[in-house]
Protein backbone atom coordinates (compact mmCIF):
# COMPACT_ATOMS: atom_id res chain seq x y z
CA UNK A 1 0.00 0.00 0.00
CA UNK A 2 2.77 2.38 0.98
CA UNK A 3 4.73 1.44 -2.13
CA UNK A 4 1.71 2.18 -4.30
CA UNK A 5 1.34 5.61 -2.75
CA UNK A 6 4.98 6.41 -3.39
CA UNK A 7 4.66 5.35 -7.03
CA UNK A 8 1.50 7.43 -7.45
CA UNK A 9 3.17 10.48 -5.89
CA UNK A 10 6.23 10.06 -8.08
CA UNK A 11 4.03 9.73 -11.17
CA UNK A 12 2.11 12.85 -10.19
CA UNK A 13 5.31 14.82 -9.77
CA UNK A 14 6.60 13.55 -13.10
CA UNK A 15 3.40 14.46 -14.94
CA UNK A 16 3.39 17.99 -13.51
CA UNK A 17 7.12 18.44 -14.21
CA UNK A 18 6.69 17.19 -17.77
CA UNK A 19 3.72 19.51 -18.34
CA UNK A 20 5.69 22.48 -17.05
CA UNK A 21 8.70 21.49 -19.16
CA UNK A 22 6.58 21.32 -22.31
CA UNK A 23 4.92 24.61 -21.49
CA UNK A 24 8.29 26.25 -20.95
CA UNK A 25 9.56 24.93 -24.30
CA UNK A 26 6.45 26.23 -25.99
CA UNK A 27 6.52 29.67 -24.41
CA UNK A 28 10.23 30.43 -24.83
CA UNK A 29 10.85 32.80 -27.78
CA UNK A 30 12.26 30.81 -30.71
CA UNK A 31 14.08 33.73 -32.39
CA UNK A 32 13.60 32.16 -35.83
CA UNK A 33 11.54 34.45 -38.05
CA UNK A 34 12.43 37.70 -36.29
CA UNK A 35 15.00 38.88 -33.73
CA UNK A 36 17.14 35.98 -34.94
CA UNK A 37 20.06 37.44 -32.99
CA UNK A 38 18.54 35.76 -29.94
CA UNK A 39 19.69 32.40 -31.32
CA UNK A 40 23.35 33.28 -31.89
CA UNK A 41 24.78 32.26 -28.53
CA UNK A 42 23.11 28.83 -28.47
CA UNK A 43 24.26 27.91 -31.98
CA UNK A 44 27.87 27.61 -30.86
CA UNK A 45 27.26 24.43 -28.86
CA UNK A 46 26.40 22.41 -31.96
CA UNK A 47 29.77 23.23 -33.52
CA UNK A 48 32.88 21.09 -33.57
CA UNK A 49 35.06 22.95 -31.08
CA UNK A 50 38.45 23.30 -32.66
CA UNK A 51 38.68 26.99 -33.36
CA UNK A 52 41.87 29.00 -33.72
CA UNK A 53 40.15 32.33 -33.20
CA UNK A 54 37.09 33.20 -31.12
CA UNK A 55 35.39 36.59 -31.41
CA UNK A 56 33.44 37.95 -28.46
CA UNK A 57 31.42 41.14 -28.28
CA UNK A 58 28.32 42.94 -29.43
CA UNK A 59 26.73 43.43 -32.85
CA UNK A 60 29.97 45.02 -34.02
CA UNK A 61 31.51 41.53 -34.15
CA UNK A 62 28.65 39.37 -35.38
CA UNK A 63 27.67 41.77 -38.15
CA UNK A 64 31.12 42.97 -39.20
CA UNK A 65 33.41 39.94 -39.41
CA UNK A 66 33.04 36.86 -41.59
CA UNK A 67 34.75 33.64 -40.38
CA UNK A 68 34.34 32.23 -43.89
CA UNK A 69 36.91 34.74 -45.19
CA UNK A 70 39.38 33.85 -42.43
CA UNK A 71 39.10 30.24 -43.54
CA UNK A 72 39.07 30.86 -47.28
CA UNK A 73 41.97 33.31 -47.33
CA UNK A 74 44.12 32.19 -44.41
CA UNK A 75 43.00 28.72 -43.32
CA UNK A 76 41.98 30.10 -39.91
CA UNK A 77 39.09 28.28 -38.22
CA UNK A 78 37.10 30.87 -36.27
CA UNK A 79 33.76 31.41 -34.55
CA UNK A 80 31.92 34.51 -33.37
CA UNK A 81 30.31 34.33 -29.93
CA UNK A 82 28.56 37.64 -30.36
CA UNK A 83 25.14 38.86 -29.28
CA UNK A 84 23.18 42.09 -29.38
CA UNK A 85 24.46 44.67 -26.89
CA UNK A 86 26.74 42.09 -25.32
CA UNK A 87 28.15 43.76 -22.23
CA UNK A 88 31.78 43.22 -21.27
CA UNK A 89 31.00 41.00 -18.27
CA UNK A 90 28.88 38.85 -20.59
CA UNK A 91 31.79 38.67 -23.04
CA UNK A 92 34.08 37.66 -20.19
CA UNK A 93 31.81 34.86 -18.98
CA UNK A 94 31.16 33.72 -22.54
CA UNK A 95 34.91 33.39 -22.87
CA UNK A 96 35.03 31.38 -19.64
CA UNK A 97 32.22 29.24 -21.04
CA UNK A 98 34.08 28.78 -24.34
CA UNK A 99 37.20 27.63 -22.48
CA UNK A 100 35.16 24.74 -21.05
CA UNK A 101 35.08 23.32 -24.56
CA UNK A 102 38.19 24.51 -26.35
CA UNK A 103 41.27 26.70 -26.13
CA UNK A 104 41.63 29.04 -29.09
CA UNK A 105 44.95 30.64 -29.97
CA UNK A 106 43.48 34.12 -30.33
CA UNK A 107 40.47 35.89 -28.82
CA UNK A 108 39.20 39.03 -30.54
CA UNK A 109 37.16 41.44 -28.42
CA UNK A 110 35.34 44.49 -29.74
CA UNK A 111 35.84 47.42 -27.37
CA UNK A 112 32.59 49.37 -27.86
CA UNK A 113 31.17 47.51 -24.86
CA UNK A 114 33.59 49.45 -22.63
CA UNK A 115 31.11 52.33 -22.74
CA UNK A 116 28.74 50.43 -20.43
CA UNK A 117 29.60 50.12 -16.77
CA UNK A 118 26.39 48.67 -15.39
CA UNK A 119 23.50 46.39 -16.42
CA UNK A 120 21.36 47.91 -19.16
CA UNK A 121 18.36 46.06 -20.51
CA UNK A 122 16.62 42.79 -19.71
CA UNK A 123 15.64 42.00 -23.29
CA UNK A 124 19.26 42.20 -24.45
CA UNK A 125 20.46 40.35 -21.35
CA UNK A 126 18.21 37.45 -22.21
CA UNK A 127 19.48 37.28 -25.78
CA UNK A 128 23.05 36.97 -24.49
CA UNK A 129 22.40 34.71 -21.51
CA UNK A 130 19.53 32.35 -22.24
CA UNK A 131 21.41 30.63 -25.04
CA UNK A 132 24.32 29.75 -22.73
CA UNK A 133 24.46 26.22 -21.40
CA UNK A 134 24.27 26.01 -17.62
CA UNK A 135 27.61 26.33 -15.87
CA UNK A 136 29.14 28.54 -13.20
CA UNK A 137 30.05 30.94 -16.03
CA UNK A 138 26.36 31.32 -16.87
CA UNK A 139 25.40 31.76 -13.21
CA UNK A 140 28.01 34.50 -12.79
CA UNK A 141 27.04 36.10 -16.09
CA UNK A 142 23.42 36.33 -14.98
CA UNK A 143 24.39 37.75 -11.60
CA UNK A 144 26.61 40.37 -13.22
CA UNK A 145 24.00 41.31 -15.82
CA UNK A 146 20.68 41.55 -14.00
CA UNK A 147 19.00 44.94 -13.77
CA UNK A 148 17.25 45.86 -10.50
CA UNK A 149 13.93 44.55 -11.82
CA UNK A 150 15.25 41.13 -12.80
CA UNK A 151 15.30 37.95 -10.73
CA UNK A 152 17.75 35.06 -10.96
CA UNK A 153 14.95 32.53 -10.64
CA UNK A 154 13.39 33.86 -13.85
CA UNK A 155 16.51 32.73 -15.70
CA UNK A 156 16.42 29.30 -14.06
CA UNK A 157 12.74 28.89 -14.88
CA UNK A 158 12.13 31.12 -17.92
CA UNK A 159 8.45 30.15 -17.87
CA UNK A 160 8.09 32.57 -14.97
CA UNK A 161 9.12 35.37 -17.31
CA UNK A 162 7.54 34.25 -20.54
CA UNK A 163 4.18 32.94 -19.37
CA UNK A 164 2.45 35.99 -20.82
CA UNK A 165 3.49 34.89 -24.31
CA UNK A 166 0.65 32.36 -24.36
CA UNK A 167 -1.61 34.86 -26.07
CA UNK A 168 0.89 35.68 -28.83
CA UNK A 169 2.15 32.22 -29.73
CA UNK A 170 2.82 31.65 -33.43
CA UNK A 171 3.06 28.56 -35.59
CA UNK A 172 6.86 28.67 -35.30
CA UNK A 173 6.58 28.18 -31.52
CA UNK A 174 5.22 24.72 -32.24
CA UNK A 175 7.35 24.06 -35.32
CA UNK A 176 10.59 24.75 -33.44
CA UNK A 177 9.51 23.23 -30.15
CA UNK A 178 12.31 20.66 -30.34
CA UNK A 179 14.20 21.64 -33.47
CA UNK A 180 16.43 24.57 -34.37
CA UNK A 181 17.14 26.47 -37.55
CA UNK A 182 20.60 27.90 -38.11
CA UNK A 183 20.56 31.65 -38.38
CA UNK A 184 24.29 32.41 -38.60
CA UNK A 185 27.47 31.39 -40.38
CA UNK A 186 29.82 30.55 -37.50
CA UNK A 187 28.18 33.34 -35.54
CA UNK A 188 28.22 35.80 -38.45
CA UNK A 189 24.87 37.43 -39.26
CA UNK A 190 24.81 38.02 -43.00
CA UNK A 191 23.19 40.99 -44.73
CA UNK A 192 23.81 41.82 -48.39
CA UNK A 193 21.60 44.89 -48.85
CA UNK A 194 23.05 48.39 -49.12
CA UNK A 195 22.17 51.64 -47.42
CA UNK A 196 24.90 54.29 -47.67
CA UNK A 197 26.08 56.10 -44.56
CA UNK A 198 24.84 59.67 -44.65
CA UNK A 199 24.43 62.44 -42.08
CA UNK A 200 25.77 60.29 -39.25
CA UNK A 201 25.40 62.40 -36.08
CA UNK A 202 28.41 63.31 -34.03
CA UNK A 203 28.53 62.17 -30.45
CA UNK A 204 26.78 64.14 -27.75
CA UNK A 205 29.04 65.87 -25.27
CA UNK A 206 29.70 63.70 -22.19
CA UNK A 207 30.47 64.98 -18.72
CA UNK A 208 32.97 62.19 -18.16
CA UNK A 209 34.68 60.28 -20.95
CA UNK A 210 36.44 57.80 -18.68
CA UNK A 211 35.39 54.17 -19.01
CA UNK A 212 33.91 52.84 -15.78
CA UNK A 213 35.74 50.84 -13.12
CA UNK A 214 33.55 47.81 -13.64
CA UNK A 215 34.24 47.77 -17.37
CA UNK A 216 37.98 48.03 -16.74
CA UNK A 217 37.78 45.30 -14.12
CA UNK A 218 36.31 42.88 -16.64
CA UNK A 219 38.79 43.90 -19.32
CA UNK A 220 41.56 43.13 -16.80
CA UNK A 221 39.93 39.77 -16.03
CA UNK A 222 39.65 39.01 -19.75
CA UNK A 223 43.31 39.88 -20.33
CA UNK A 224 44.34 37.71 -17.36
CA UNK A 225 42.17 34.78 -18.43
CA UNK A 226 43.79 34.91 -21.86
CA UNK A 227 47.29 35.21 -20.37
CA UNK A 228 46.69 32.27 -18.02
CA UNK A 229 45.56 30.13 -20.93
CA UNK A 230 48.30 31.24 -23.30
CA UNK A 231 45.75 32.93 -25.57
CA UNK A 232 46.52 36.14 -27.45
CA UNK A 233 43.90 38.78 -26.76
CA UNK A 234 43.28 41.20 -29.64
CA UNK A 235 41.23 44.35 -29.13
CA UNK A 236 39.34 45.73 -32.11
CA UNK A 237 37.05 48.63 -32.78
CA UNK A 238 34.84 47.71 -35.71
CA UNK A 239 34.34 50.44 -38.34
CA UNK A 240 30.74 51.15 -37.29
CA UNK A 241 30.12 54.92 -37.48
CA UNK A 242 27.30 54.94 -34.94
CA UNK A 243 27.21 54.80 -31.92
CA UNK A 244 29.92 57.46 -31.95
CA UNK A 245 33.41 56.42 -30.91
CA UNK A 246 34.99 59.34 -29.03
CA UNK A 247 38.65 60.31 -29.34
CA UNK A 248 38.84 60.19 -25.54
CA UNK A 249 37.71 56.54 -25.61
CA UNK A 250 40.20 55.75 -28.35
CA UNK A 251 43.08 57.12 -26.28
CA UNK A 252 42.08 55.00 -23.27
CA UNK A 253 42.01 51.81 -25.34
CA UNK A 254 45.30 52.66 -27.03
CA UNK A 255 46.87 53.22 -23.61
CA UNK A 256 45.40 49.99 -22.23
CA UNK A 257 46.63 47.95 -25.18
CA UNK A 258 50.09 49.47 -24.89
CA UNK A 259 50.32 48.90 -21.13
CA UNK A 260 49.20 45.29 -21.48
CA UNK A 261 51.09 44.41 -24.64
CA UNK A 262 47.91 43.75 -26.64
CA UNK A 263 47.33 44.17 -30.35
CA UNK A 264 44.67 46.84 -30.93
CA UNK A 265 43.14 47.49 -34.34
CA UNK A 266 40.78 50.41 -34.83
CA UNK A 267 39.09 49.79 -38.18
CA UNK A 268 37.61 53.30 -38.14
CA UNK A 269 41.11 54.51 -38.96
CA UNK A 270 41.73 51.94 -41.70
CA UNK A 271 39.28 52.99 -44.37
CA UNK A 272 41.94 53.20 -47.08
CA UNK A 273 43.85 50.10 -46.02
CA UNK A 274 40.72 47.94 -45.93
CA UNK A 275 39.13 49.56 -48.99
CA UNK A 276 35.94 50.14 -47.03
CA UNK A 277 33.39 52.30 -48.83
CA UNK A 278 30.59 53.61 -46.64
CA UNK A 279 28.45 54.18 -49.73
CA UNK A 280 28.31 50.50 -50.59
CA UNK A 281 29.62 48.49 -47.64
CA UNK A 282 26.93 49.10 -45.02
CA UNK A 283 23.30 48.00 -44.96
CA UNK A 284 21.96 50.42 -42.38
CA UNK A 285 23.61 53.77 -42.92
CA UNK A 286 26.90 53.06 -41.17
CA UNK A 287 25.90 51.14 -38.04
CA UNK A 288 26.82 47.73 -39.39
CA UNK A 289 28.62 46.47 -42.46
CA UNK A 290 26.97 44.39 -45.12
CA UNK A 291 28.61 41.27 -46.52
CA UNK A 292 30.86 43.23 -48.87
CA UNK A 293 32.16 45.39 -46.00
CA UNK A 294 32.52 42.47 -43.58
CA UNK A 295 34.57 40.51 -46.10
CA UNK A 296 36.89 43.49 -46.66
CA UNK A 297 37.73 44.10 -43.03
CA UNK A 298 37.94 40.40 -42.22
CA UNK A 299 40.53 39.98 -44.97
CA UNK A 300 42.56 42.76 -43.32
CA UNK A 301 42.16 41.20 -39.88
CA UNK A 302 43.25 37.80 -41.19
CA UNK A 303 46.47 39.27 -42.58
CA UNK A 304 47.10 41.10 -39.29
CA UNK A 305 46.62 37.87 -37.31
CA UNK A 306 48.97 36.01 -39.66
CA UNK A 307 51.60 38.72 -39.47
CA UNK A 308 51.40 38.95 -35.69
CA UNK A 309 50.81 35.38 -34.56
CA UNK A 310 51.73 33.20 -37.58
CA UNK A 311 48.63 31.03 -37.20
CA UNK A 312 48.85 27.72 -39.02
CA UNK A 313 47.10 27.56 -42.36
CA UNK A 314 44.78 24.57 -41.84
CA UNK A 315 43.32 24.33 -45.32
CA UNK A 316 45.26 21.12 -45.88
CA UNK A 317 43.37 19.38 -43.03
CA UNK A 318 40.95 17.10 -44.83
CA UNK A 319 38.31 16.85 -42.12
CA UNK A 320 38.22 20.59 -41.45
CA UNK A 321 38.22 21.36 -45.17
CA UNK A 322 35.16 19.19 -45.59
CA UNK A 323 33.36 20.95 -42.75
CA UNK A 324 34.20 24.31 -44.30
CA UNK A 325 33.14 23.18 -47.76
CA UNK A 326 29.65 22.57 -46.34
CA UNK A 327 29.71 25.85 -44.46
CA UNK A 328 30.84 27.73 -47.56
CA UNK A 329 28.03 26.19 -49.60
CA UNK A 330 25.46 27.33 -47.02
CA UNK A 331 27.09 30.77 -46.92
CA UNK A 332 26.95 31.17 -50.71
CA UNK A 333 23.39 29.91 -50.81
CA UNK A 334 22.36 32.47 -48.21
CA UNK A 335 24.21 35.17 -50.14
CA UNK A 336 22.44 34.28 -53.41
CA UNK A 337 19.04 34.10 -51.71
CA UNK A 338 19.49 37.50 -50.11
CA UNK A 339 20.78 39.02 -53.34
CA UNK A 340 17.73 37.74 -55.20
CA UNK A 341 15.43 39.16 -52.54
CA UNK A 342 17.24 42.49 -52.65
CA UNK A 343 16.95 42.66 -56.42
CA UNK A 344 13.20 42.05 -56.22
CA UNK A 345 12.73 45.04 -53.90
Amino acid sequence: MKRKRIIRTACSVLVVAFTLFMLQRLLLPKYVSDVVEGRLIAEYYAEEKDHDVIFIGDCEVYENFSPKILWEDYGINSYIRGSAQQLIWQSYYLLEDTLRYEKPKVVVFNVLAMKYDEPQNEAYNRMSLEGMKWSMAKVKAIQASMTDEEHFLDYVFPILRYHSRWSSLKAEDVEYLFTDRKVSHNGYYMRVDVKPAKDVPEGKMLADYRFGENAYQYLDKMAKLCRDNDIKLVLVKAPSLYPYWYDEWERQIEDYAKQNGLLYINFLELKEETGLDYDSDTYDGGLHLNLSGAEKITAYLGQALQDEYHLTDRRSEERLSKIWADKTAAYEQDRRKQEEETEKQ
Binding site: S12, V35, N121, E122, I159, K204, L206
Partner: protein, 193 residues
Protein backbone atom coordinates in the same frame (compact mmCIF):
# COMPACT_ATOMS: atom_id res chain seq x y z
CA UNK B 1 -5.68 9.94 -8.39
CA UNK B 2 -5.26 10.55 -12.11
CA UNK B 3 -7.95 13.21 -12.01
CA UNK B 4 -6.14 14.93 -9.15
CA UNK B 5 -2.97 15.13 -11.22
CA UNK B 6 -4.81 16.65 -14.14
CA UNK B 7 -6.66 19.11 -11.95
CA UNK B 8 -3.32 20.10 -10.40
CA UNK B 9 -1.75 20.54 -13.83
CA UNK B 10 -4.66 22.56 -15.16
CA UNK B 11 -4.60 24.80 -12.08
CA UNK B 12 -0.89 25.37 -12.54
CA UNK B 13 -1.32 26.21 -16.22
CA UNK B 14 -4.15 28.58 -15.37
CA UNK B 15 -2.00 30.19 -12.70
CA UNK B 16 0.88 30.67 -15.10
CA UNK B 17 -1.15 31.84 -18.05
CA UNK B 18 -3.92 33.78 -16.44
CA UNK B 19 -1.95 36.64 -15.03
CA UNK B 20 -0.09 37.44 -18.21
CA UNK B 21 -1.69 40.64 -19.29
CA UNK B 22 0.13 43.01 -16.96
CA UNK B 23 3.62 41.62 -17.47
CA UNK B 24 6.05 43.05 -19.98
CA UNK B 25 6.56 40.71 -22.90
CA UNK B 26 10.20 40.46 -23.84
CA UNK B 27 9.95 40.54 -27.58
CA UNK B 28 11.24 44.06 -27.88
CA UNK B 29 12.66 46.62 -25.49
CA UNK B 30 10.02 49.25 -25.82
CA UNK B 31 6.88 47.90 -24.19
CA UNK B 32 7.40 49.85 -20.97
CA UNK B 33 7.65 53.15 -22.80
CA UNK B 34 3.97 53.25 -23.56
CA UNK B 35 2.71 54.73 -20.33
CA UNK B 36 4.82 57.88 -20.43
CA UNK B 37 4.37 58.32 -24.16
CA UNK B 38 0.64 57.76 -24.10
CA UNK B 39 0.10 60.11 -21.18
CA UNK B 40 2.09 62.84 -22.93
CA UNK B 41 0.29 62.18 -26.20
CA UNK B 42 -3.07 62.69 -24.56
CA UNK B 43 -1.99 66.10 -23.30
CA UNK B 44 -0.59 66.87 -26.72
CA UNK B 45 -3.92 66.03 -28.36
CA UNK B 46 -5.76 68.28 -25.93
CA UNK B 47 -3.75 71.28 -27.07
CA UNK B 48 -4.31 73.12 -30.34
CA UNK B 49 -1.77 72.63 -33.13
CA UNK B 50 -0.48 76.18 -32.71
CA UNK B 51 1.11 76.38 -29.28
CA UNK B 52 2.64 79.26 -27.41
CA UNK B 53 5.08 79.36 -24.52
CA UNK B 54 2.18 79.91 -22.14
CA UNK B 55 0.84 76.53 -23.17
CA UNK B 56 3.91 74.77 -21.88
CA UNK B 57 2.51 74.64 -18.36
CA UNK B 58 0.04 72.06 -19.58
CA UNK B 59 2.77 69.57 -20.34
CA UNK B 60 4.51 67.08 -18.11
CA UNK B 61 8.09 67.80 -17.20
CA UNK B 62 10.27 70.56 -18.61
CA UNK B 63 9.57 71.24 -22.27
CA UNK B 64 11.62 72.97 -24.95
CA UNK B 65 9.97 75.60 -27.11
CA UNK B 66 11.31 76.47 -30.55
CA UNK B 67 9.59 78.87 -32.94
CA UNK B 68 6.20 78.26 -31.31
CA UNK B 69 6.58 74.49 -31.31
CA UNK B 70 6.50 72.84 -27.93
CA UNK B 71 8.72 69.77 -27.66
CA UNK B 72 8.23 67.58 -24.63
CA UNK B 73 9.67 64.20 -23.86
CA UNK B 74 7.54 61.19 -24.86
CA UNK B 75 5.33 63.37 -27.05
CA UNK B 76 4.23 62.05 -30.44
CA UNK B 77 7.08 63.16 -32.72
CA UNK B 78 5.14 63.35 -35.99
CA UNK B 79 3.29 66.68 -35.44
CA UNK B 80 6.43 68.19 -33.91
CA UNK B 81 8.60 67.23 -36.87
CA UNK B 82 5.92 68.56 -39.20
CA UNK B 83 5.76 71.90 -37.40
CA UNK B 84 9.54 72.26 -37.30
CA UNK B 85 9.82 71.84 -41.05
CA UNK B 86 12.62 70.17 -42.98
CA UNK B 87 15.56 69.18 -40.82
CA UNK B 88 19.14 70.12 -41.75
CA UNK B 89 19.99 66.46 -41.51
CA UNK B 90 18.22 63.24 -40.70
CA UNK B 91 19.64 59.90 -39.55
CA UNK B 92 18.03 56.57 -38.83
CA UNK B 93 19.53 54.20 -36.29
CA UNK B 94 17.87 50.79 -36.27
CA UNK B 95 18.16 49.21 -32.84
CA UNK B 96 20.32 46.08 -32.67
CA UNK B 97 18.15 43.00 -33.09
CA UNK B 98 14.80 44.59 -32.33
CA UNK B 99 12.48 46.09 -34.86
CA UNK B 100 12.05 49.83 -34.82
CA UNK B 101 14.26 52.74 -35.69
CA UNK B 102 15.58 55.52 -33.50
CA UNK B 103 15.61 58.74 -35.53
CA UNK B 104 17.87 61.77 -35.22
CA UNK B 105 16.73 65.11 -36.68
CA UNK B 106 19.21 67.99 -36.61
CA UNK B 107 17.84 71.54 -36.82
CA UNK B 108 20.93 73.73 -36.76
CA UNK B 109 20.88 74.63 -33.09
CA UNK B 110 19.50 71.44 -31.65
CA UNK B 111 19.10 67.74 -32.23
CA UNK B 112 15.77 65.97 -31.79
CA UNK B 113 15.87 62.21 -31.15
CA UNK B 114 12.94 59.83 -31.26
CA UNK B 115 12.21 56.26 -30.24
CA UNK B 116 9.59 53.94 -31.69
CA UNK B 117 6.71 52.30 -29.89
CA UNK B 118 4.25 50.28 -31.92
CA UNK B 119 3.72 52.31 -35.09
CA UNK B 120 4.60 55.72 -33.70
CA UNK B 121 7.73 57.69 -32.90
CA UNK B 122 8.05 59.54 -29.62
CA UNK B 123 10.52 62.20 -28.52
CA UNK B 124 13.40 60.68 -26.57
CA UNK B 125 15.72 63.68 -26.26
CA UNK B 126 16.56 67.20 -27.36
CA UNK B 127 20.22 68.17 -27.34
CA UNK B 128 21.40 71.76 -27.72
CA UNK B 129 24.12 72.20 -30.35
CA UNK B 130 25.04 75.87 -29.82
CA UNK B 131 24.40 78.98 -27.71
CA UNK B 132 21.76 80.56 -29.98
CA UNK B 133 18.86 78.88 -28.21
CA UNK B 134 17.74 78.61 -24.60
CA UNK B 135 15.47 76.50 -22.46
CA UNK B 136 11.92 77.73 -21.88
CA UNK B 137 13.18 78.97 -18.50
CA UNK B 138 15.91 81.01 -20.25
CA UNK B 139 19.11 79.01 -19.74
CA UNK B 140 21.50 78.48 -22.65
CA UNK B 141 24.97 77.13 -23.31
CA UNK B 142 27.56 79.55 -21.96
CA UNK B 143 25.39 80.78 -19.09
CA UNK B 144 26.83 80.77 -15.56
CA UNK B 145 25.90 78.07 -13.04
CA UNK B 146 23.99 80.66 -10.96
CA UNK B 147 21.48 81.07 -13.75
CA UNK B 148 20.75 77.34 -13.73
CA UNK B 149 20.10 77.42 -9.98
CA UNK B 150 17.96 80.54 -10.36
CA UNK B 151 15.82 78.86 -13.02
CA UNK B 152 15.61 75.31 -11.66
CA UNK B 153 16.55 75.50 -8.00
CA UNK B 154 18.87 73.34 -5.95
CA UNK B 155 16.94 70.10 -6.01
CA UNK B 156 19.15 68.27 -8.50
CA UNK B 157 21.10 65.06 -8.58
CA UNK B 158 24.43 64.19 -10.14
CA UNK B 159 24.39 61.49 -12.77
CA UNK B 160 27.45 60.49 -14.81
CA UNK B 161 28.98 63.87 -14.02
CA UNK B 162 25.87 65.77 -15.16
CA UNK B 163 23.56 67.97 -13.11
CA UNK B 164 20.13 66.43 -13.54
CA UNK B 165 16.73 67.97 -12.76
CA UNK B 166 14.05 65.31 -12.89
CA UNK B 167 10.39 66.20 -13.34
CA UNK B 168 7.34 64.09 -14.29
CA UNK B 169 9.36 61.21 -15.68
CA UNK B 170 11.82 63.26 -17.73
CA UNK B 171 15.25 64.70 -17.12
CA UNK B 172 16.83 68.03 -17.88
CA UNK B 173 20.59 67.48 -17.91
CA UNK B 174 23.33 70.10 -17.72
CA UNK B 175 27.04 69.60 -18.13
CA UNK B 176 28.96 72.36 -16.36
CA UNK B 177 32.56 73.23 -17.10
CA UNK B 178 34.29 75.88 -14.98
CA UNK B 179 30.91 76.89 -13.50
CA UNK B 180 29.53 77.51 -17.00
CA UNK B 181 26.88 75.56 -18.89
CA UNK B 182 28.61 73.49 -21.59
CA UNK B 183 25.76 71.18 -22.61
CA UNK B 184 21.97 70.99 -22.23
CA UNK B 185 19.88 67.93 -22.91
CA UNK B 186 16.22 67.11 -22.34
CA UNK B 187 15.91 63.36 -21.92
CA UNK B 188 13.02 60.92 -21.59
CA UNK B 189 13.40 58.38 -18.82
CA UNK B 190 11.38 55.89 -20.86
CA UNK B 191 14.46 54.98 -22.90
CA UNK B 192 16.37 54.21 -19.73
CA UNK B 193 13.93 51.50 -18.71
Amino acid sequence: MRSKVWIGSIMMIALLCGCGSDVKVIEGDVAVKETAAQAQEKKQEDTAAEVTEEDTAQYSGYVFTYGGTVIGMDMDAAPIVEQLGEADSYFEAPSCAFEGIDKVYTYGSFELDTYPTDDKDYVSSVVFKDDTIATTEGVGIGDPEDKVVEAYGSDWTEEDGMRVYEKDGMKLCFILEDDTVASIEYRSTAIEQ
